[in-house]
């Protein structure tokens, strides 16, 4: 080996050690810089993806657009009335809770966000959304989407990259573990994705159930609220199969959210974390939420 090779190899190893010693804040700064540099390319790629996926979709005519607008306007007016009604009910509910010495809980604060990149990593099921520090998003904030009348859990914020982007680690990833329970029962466990699960709708695993748990197929699985990270009653999926074990039972759960078609999501803003398992669960009814513009 020539001298120059040895010198460059030593420099390379030194560089590696130096980079490995970077702290989280340094890595964040570097990634923020990269996000700014690659920003125009990422949005360009996103536009191309949208254009390609839009091929074959029919464009609406002016008349159809007018009809659609009218329909949406009527729907908006109806919802406004409903919101007024709901506000009254919320007020009444709060008054009753106070009267019963319940702990007053503030409604969820939601930030709408748009998915700008899907699964950029090989080994992690992630999304990148277009909201970050500027929208007060913090790591571990839960991310949800409406599923019918309920809120379905998508995952949690893994990292806030900059003012206008964050990485969401999906519920289908093994890393995203959620305290869950089977609706209508007292059975609780930990729900997570499976390593190496790469299909469109990978099944989830609900572990640490009791070995003789009552987990009929089709029963809803929801967040339990234990741990304080995720609000309770967020929809996670449906029981597909229950396997009793020697010590604990395990259920295979079909995810409620289709992670492959997500375009718009909502991030639940969290307080500076002092949550504990004993902290009171927050309201998860979507009608009580306050959506930031």
């Amino acid at each position: 080996m020539s001298r120059i090779n040895v010198i460059v190899l030593i420099v390379f190893v030194g560089l590696l050690v130096w980079v490995f010693l970077f702290g989280q804040s340094t890595v964040s700064k570097i990634q923020r810089g990269a996000q700014e540099v690659f920003g125009p390319v990422i949005s360009g790629a996103n536009r191309v993806e949208e254009t390609v996926s839009g091929f074959g979709k029919e464009t609406l005519s002016a008349v159809e657009l007018r009809a659609k607008l009218d329909e949406v306007s009527r729907e908006r007016d109806r919802l406004r009335l409903e919101v007024l009604k709901v506000d009254e009910l919320v007020q009444e509910n709060n008054d009753l809770r106070q009267a019963l010495n319940y702990v007053e809980r503030s409604p969820l604060k939601l930030v709408p966000a748009r998915v700008i990149s899907r699964k950029p990593s090989n080994w992690y099921n992630t999304l990148v959304i277009d909201k970050g520090h500027a929208a007060a998003i913090a790591p571990d904030s839960p991310v949800i989407v409406p599923v019918g009348e309920r809120a379905g859990l998508v995952g949690k914020i893994s990292e806030v990259i900059g003012n206008d982007s964050s990485v969401v680690i999906l519920l289908s990833d093994e890393v995203c573990q959620v305290s869950a329970r089977i609706e209508g029962t007292t059975e609780q466990g930990i729900l997570s994705g499976q390593r190496g699960a790469l299909s469109i709708m990978p099944d989830l695993k609900l572990n640490y159930l009791s070995k003789d748990a009552v987990a009929p197929n089709g029963r809803l699985v929801i967040t339990s609220g234990a741990g304080g990270l995720f609000p309770e009653n967020l929809l996670l999926g449906r029981v597909k199969e229950f396997t009793p074990g020697a010590i604990a039972g395990e259920a295979t759960v079909e995810a409620a959210v289709n992670f492959d078609v997500l375009e718009n999501v909502f991030v639940i803003l969290t307080e500076p974390t002092n949550a504990s398992p004993e902290s009171p669960p927050v309201q998860t009814d979507l009608s009580r939420t306050e959506v930031e513009k």
Binding site: M1, S2, I4, N5, I7, V8, L9, V11, F12, L15, L16, V19, F20, F22, G23, Q24, V27, S28, I30, Q31, G33, A34, Q35, F38, V41, I42, G44, A45, V48, E49, R118, K119, P120, S121, N122, W123, Y124, T126, S158, E159, V167, I169, E174, V175, Q194, R195, G196, A197, L198, S199, I200
Partner: protein
């Protein structure tokens, strides 16, 4: 020197191109790793010190763009630490340097095959590191298919990138030299 700068420019373009490469559903969400493939192709053509410098630069930018900070319980370092790609590029680049004599003679089969092997190996190493952190080794068929398809995509793209690099080498008059050999070879010379 001009050739090295052009290789750097090609790598920059590969980063731009990577953003437009979709994950392919029928291939278990495998995608062409354009940056990796371009780097491995470049590693066949440049001397060892230049390869290491390219590995450091390319790995750093890759991690800056694609690093996912997932931290194991109680650890300040991510599962796949920032800089891990630099290490992988350095390691795989060193392996690929072994087939430079073949490439110099205009034989591309083994370099292309080795690029596929290196892509596969780097994915396996990443997966093993993740498994080490999480405990237990879970190997699914889907996962193997994904890694194989990713490697196959690399092998399909490699000849095109090697063609581009060989054209650039000819254009700039760049000669591939090997240590210990006094004679200088131009790309395509027979020994």
């Amino acid at each position: 020197m001009i050739y090295f700068l052009l290789v750097l420019v090609v790598l920059v373009f590969s980063f731009v191109g990577q953003e437009f490469v979709p994950a392919i559903a029928w291939a278990y969400y495998a995608r062409l790793l354009l940056v990796q493939t371009t780097f491995y192709c470049a590693a066949v053509t440049v001397p060892y010190p230049v390869m290491l410098l390219l590995a450091a630069a390319t790995g750093f930018v890759w991690d800056a763009r694609y690093h996912v900070p997932v931290y194991p319980e109680g650890s300040a370092h991510a599962e796949l630490d920032f800089g891990f790609t630099m290490f992988l590029f350095g390691l795989m680049g060193s392996l690929i340097q072994g087939v430079r004599p073949l490439f110099r003679r205009g034989r591309w089969e083994l370099p292309v095959f080795l690029i596929g092997i290196c892509t596969f190996l780097s994915l396996v190493i990443q997966y093993l590191v993740i498994s080490f952190h999480r405990g237990g080794l879970y190997l699914s068929t889907e996962m193997w298919f994904q890694m194989l398809m990713t490697s196959l995509f690399s092998m399909l793209a490699a000849p095109l990138i090697l063609l581009l690099l060989s054209r650039l080498a000819k254009w700039t008059g760049y000669r591939i030299r090997l240590e210990g050999i006094t004679r200088k070879y131009r790309y395509g010379d027979s020994i």
